[in-house]
C-alpha cells in the first residue's frame, strides 16, 4: 500500500482518501477520479490536475522545442485537450501522464513541421531530435557537452527511452506505455543506448 507522501499535489479542497487496509487506490484510478471530478464541474480537481501535469507537459515541450515561450503555448494547448477529453475519459485504458506525453509530443512535432514549412516536409525525416541544443547548452564541461551530443546522436527511440528514464525518472513500464512497446523492448533500447554512450564517451586513445 502506497502512502500519502507520493508527491501527489493537492489542490485546495481536493482530498483523495486512501482507506488503509481496505483497498489500494492506484494512480490510474486517482487520475481518472480527478478527471471525472473535473468533468463534473469541480474546479479544485482542475487545479490538482494542473499542478500535477502542467509541469510535465511544459518541461517536455521545452525539451523538444528549446523555447520556453513556445513550450508554454504547447503545454497550455495540451492541457486544453485534456480538459476536452475529461468527460469521455475511460479509466484504466491509459495513464493521464502517458496520454499527455503523446499529445504534447504531437503538438511539438506539429510546431517543428510548421517551422520547416518552407522546406518540402515530405522529404524531411521525422523531427526526431527532441532537443537539439537544450542539453548541450546546459553542459558546462566538455565531458557534459560530449555526453549531450552523444545523446542527441542516438537513434530516436533509444534517445527517447534514455531521456524518459534518466531525465523524467519514468519507470520502464511507463516508458513502454509511452512508446507503445513492451517492457523488454524498453530494456533493450536502454541497454543499447547506454552501450553506445559508453563507447562515444571513451577517452580518445593517445596517438
Amino acid at each position: 500500500m502506497r502512502g500519502h507522501s507520493q508527491g501527489w499535489p493537492r489542490g485546495q479542497g481536493v482530498q483523495i482518501v486512501r482507506m488503509a487496509g481496505m483497498f489500494d487506490v492506484s494512480e490510474h484510478e486517482e487520475e481518472a477520479a480527478l478527471l471525472a471530478r473535473y468533468a463534473a464541474g469541480d474546479q479544485a480537481a482542475a487545479r490538482a490536475l494542473t499542478e500535477q501535469f502542467l509541469p510535465l507537459a511544459l518541461r517536455q515541450a521545452w525539451r523538444v522545442l528549446g523555447s520556453e515561450a513556445e513550450a508554454e503555448e504547447v503545454a497550455q494547448e495540451a492541457m486544453l485537450k485534456l480538459w476536452r477529453q475529461a468527460p469521455s475519459w475511460r479509466a484504466g485504458e491509459a495513464r493521464v501522464s502517458t496520454w499527455l506525453y503523446r499529445v504534447t509530443q504531437n503538438l511539438c512535432i506539429d510546431r517543428i513541421r510548421r517551422r520547416r514549412a518552407t522546406a518540402n516536409v515530405d522529404d524531411l525525416p521525422e523531427p526526431a531530435d527532441p532537443a537539439p541544443g537544450v542539453l548541450e547548452r546546459l553542459s558546462a564541461s566538455d565531458d557534459m557537452r560530449r555526453l549531450a551530443r552523444a545523446i542527441m546522436a542516438l537513434p530516436q527511440r533509444q534517445r527517447d527511452a534514455l531521456v524518459m528514464r534518466h531525465f523524467d525518472g519514468a519507470s520502464n513500464p511507463d516508458i513502454a506505455e509511452r512508446l507503445d512497446c513492451s517492457v523488454e523492448a524498453v530494456e533493450s533500447l536502454l541497454a543499447r543506448a547506454r552501450r553506445q554512450l559508453q563507447k562515444e564517451l571513451a577517452p580518445e586513445a593517445p596517438e
Binding site: 555526453l147 543499447r192 577517452p203
Partner: protein, 146 residues
Amino acid sequence: MTDEKRSSNDITEAALEQALERLAAAENRAAPRPGDALVARVLADAAAETARASAALSRPAAMRTGRVRAGARGRAGARRGLGAWLGGGAGFAAAMAAGLAFGFVTGLANPESELVPGVLAAAGVDEEVIVVSDASASMFGAETPF
C-alpha cells in the same frame, strides 16, 4: 553489433550513470516551471470548458423541457377546446331542449307566452329542469319531472 561491444577504453557503466545524473540535474535546474500567468490561463481554459460542456448539456435538456411543456400546453388546450366545444354543444342542446320544453309547456299551459313564467311559477314548475326526454334528462343529469 560489433560497434556496440565494449572496448577497454569505454567508460564504465557507473561513470556513465554519474554523468547522466549530472546532466539530468543541470536540465532540472534549467527547466522552466509553470508561472502564475500560465497556470491562470490553463485554469481559465478549464473553467471555460466546464461552462461550455454545461451549456452543451443543458441545451438539449431545455429543449426537452420546452417540448414537454409545449406538449402539455397543447394537450391541455386540446382538452379545453374539446370541453368548450362539448360544453358549448351541450349548452346549445340544453338551451334548445329547454326552449322546446318551455315552449311546449307554455304552449300547453298558456298560449300567451308572456304569461308563462308566472303560470309556471304558480304551478311550481322550475323551467330549468324541464326536459323533453329521458335521454336529455340523463344527458344533463336531471330527472324528468314528468
